[in-house]
Symmetry: C2
Subunit: 209 residues, 2 copies
């Protein structure tokens, strides 16, 4: 039992160290030797637990998906309007990207390795359902699909914001969730002071309204 | 002279082939052998022109920055309102990301290698100036810095959209510039049907208004 606990602790240390390395340098840019060094665990012990870099990356992705799943499940239990739920969900995604290295790394690894479900596959379906509910409840000016596309862009922007903050490009800028909340305020009421935006856009698209 | 032209053509073929490879697999995930094979040019000829992977990556970044610079210069000559200019600029960035492999690759390489100026360093300063002009002209409901942050998020989302389309995750979705134009329509007039969004956001931030 004690031995099992120790093994579980070693695995968890390795997964966290691997997540830090993969997240910073990408899958191709990371070696097992670097992870072993960062974890303070010998390469022999590492390969006892994870036989390859791919195995370890799989474990990081599994951990990141589990953390995301738990956070979304907790959120789903709150009682507020559909549009509020979408906003809360995006702010929670911002928090996960900022604070949970396994989640941030999972997003990068799934994209680079084309391995299993992409991160957006976990939160985009509930966002779409909620936005259709919001539209039906008269909470949206535009159709739900357009707003879903906007949410995707904002979450992608949030990921970039987190990565640039971590790389020191924007040491002085607002924290990611505060930045996203300000953007939501702006987006809910609109950038233009009047609601008549004719003439501001280069040409009428009129494709989906 | 003919010899010089041939050398220039070989260099240009190598830069384009390198851009395709780096853009798809990242800096660490690409080898000179792969680039040589993709370009149909021997490894010996490749290393005659570019002595290292870093040299070739530098050449791709230089090409991507030059293309971006030219596009921004052309845009700056149009006569329209400051807010329209910002929108046109973002649509041009979307087009560059979609169509110009050296630009798309430069964005990725500068981020991965932390080499020289990031892409946003080229377009964010003019966007910020234009948005301050737009605010002064009464074209914005919120202050220019909030709108600048929104534009950064939208362009980051646009980059992600392009990459996901290229990887086949969204074969059927709208082209990137049409997607961005729809999002601008939405963002200009606002997501909420009323302009009173009190109670939709989880808490008042009131940080910058």
């Amino acid at each position: 039992m004690v031995k099992q606990e120790r093994a579980a602790k070693t695995r968890s240390t390795l997964v966290l160290a691997a997540a830090e390395q993969f997240d910073r340098d990408g899958y191709a840019g990371t070696s097992l030797a670097q992870i072993s060094k960062a974890a303070g665990i010998s390469l022999g012990a590492l390969t006892f637990h994870f036989s390859s870099k791919g195995d370890l990356a799989d474990a990081v992705e599994t951990a990141g998906r589990a953390t995301t799943h738990d956070a979304l499940t907790t959120l789903g239990q709150r009682a507020c309007s559909a549009l509020q739920q979408v906003i809360e969900l995006t702010l929670e995604l911002a928090r996960l990207l900022e604070e949970e290295v396994t989640v941030r790394c999972m997003v990068r690894l799934a994209r680079e390795r084309q391995s299993g479900e992409q991160w957006s596959g976990m939160w985009l379906p509930p966002v779409r359902i909620l936005l259709h509910q919001a539209y039906a409840a008269g909470q949206l000016r535009r159709n739900a699909e357009d707003v879903t596309a906007l949410v995707e862009h904002l979450v992608a922007g949030t990921e970039m914001h987190v990565r640039e903050r971590r790389e020191g490009h924007r040491a002085s800028s607002a924290s990611t969730d505060v930045a996203l909340e300000l953007i939501w305020e702006l987006v809910l009421s609109g950038v233009s002071p009047s609601n008549n935006c004719t003439g501001v856009l280069p040409q009428a698209t009129g494709a989906t309204d």
